[in-house]
């Protein structure tokens, strides 16, 4: 059981929050909470890669975009966004991105180990008509730690089921690769 307490927020300067952690799990990774640089990287990924590049692509351009931005788990840092799954056909488009840290915690969360997952949908990206859903884990003080995004064409249960299933599956793959899932 891991308990994380966000002790206080200090505004200003480069480090605008200070997080105090109480960890009871010996195997727990200290890097699970993003620092400001990692948060900033996430935002710029969303802005330049997803909105800047992906949304201006044609269907044909999508696959070369995908090739350029697909990464192995081992090459990504903890809070870096990884493309974990996609589906593109004449009727539908789904793209699931997640931080490596969320994959590490998604299955554990289900075992009531830490935090919880929250979902919120749907904000249409005006420039490209896609919808946008966020899945996040948080500390007990409602600070977002890990995050996953779904960029999707339709807002239906198939889309959300697809995304959560992929997150769960990839999470198990990731934890198996790193020896954390038996």
């Amino acid at each position: 059981m891991v308990k994380i307490l966000v002790d206080e927020q200090i505004k200003g300067g480069k480090s605008n929050f200070k997080i105090k952690k109480f960890l009871e799990d010996e195997g727990f990774n200290d890097d699970v909470i993003p620092d400001n640089k990692q948060l900033s990287n996430r935002r710029s990924y969303l802005k330049s890669i997803i909105l800047g590049e992906l949304c201006q692509n044609t269907k044909g351009g999508f696959y070369s975009w995908l090739k350029d931005h697909t990464k192995d788990f081992s090459d990504a840092s903890n809070h870096e966004m990884i493309i974990i799954s996609h589906e593109l056909n004449d009727k539908d488009f789904r793209l699931v991105l997640s931080t490596k840290s969320l994959l590490e915690n998604a299955v554990k969360e289900n075992q009531n180990c830490r935090g919880y997952m929250a979902l919120d949908s749907t904000h249409k990206i005006v420039s490209c008509q896609f919808k946008f859903t966020t899945i996040a884990t948080s500390t007990n003080n409602q600070e977002i730690t890990d995050i996953a995004y779904i960029i999707h064409a339709h807002e239906d249960s198939e889309t959300f089921t697809y995304a959560l299933r992929e997150i769960k599956t990839q999470s198990k793959v990731f934890l198996t690769l790193t020896g954390q899932f038996m």
Binding site: R43, L46, K47, L51, E109, N110, N112, Y116, M117, A118, L119, D120, S121, H123, I125, V126, F132, T134, A136, S138, N140, N141, Q142, E143, I144, E155, D156, S157, T159, F160, T161, A163, L164, R165, K168
Partner: protein, 138 residues
């Protein structure tokens, strides 16, 4: 934790059937305000907050039974009492939607989705660069 979206509820149930579910109390309040307007919500607020403070599902059901008896006696709510009771019972007392009370999730987890709402507001304003226009200004 999510809002009351049906597709989201279905997908969570399918993928995480054993997980504890939470529904956003704030979204419920917003939905009631949309249905009855803000002024009428003030008359209903005490009842809704009473339900939000419950610690268990049994407490929630008992509280709702009390409220159902009390609302018809409230003169301010004469015109909407029956409608509100029917609406609330049909939607917010249903098994899949009733986890908005504070005890639905473990202590300190809260009963709102506000952290993600805040995250989306930030994305909309600073990254998606969507502008908010007052009615009549465009």
């Amino acid at each position: 934790m999510s809002d009351f979206s049906y597709p989201i509820a279905v997908s969570i149930q399918q993928n995480f059937p054993d997980a504890r579910r939470g529904k956003c109390y704030f979204h419920m309040v917003q939905n009631i305000i949309k249905r009855y307007n803000k002024k009428r919500y003030e008359d209903l607020r005490l009842y809704v907050e009473f339900l939000g403070c419950c610690l268990s599902v049994n407490e929630l059901k008992s509280a709702w039974d009390l409220i159902k008896k009390d609302i018809p006696k409230n003169r301010k709510l004469n015109d909407i009492a029956a409608n509100f009771i029917e609406y609330f019972e049909d939607f917010y007392m249903k098994e899949e939607n009733m986890y908005y009370y504070i005890g639905a999730l473990p202590p300190a987890y809260g009963n709102t989705n506000n952290m993600l709402e805040g995250h989306h507001r930030h994305l909309k304003q600073n990254i998606l660069e969507r502008k908010v226009h007052s009615i009549g200004t465009v």
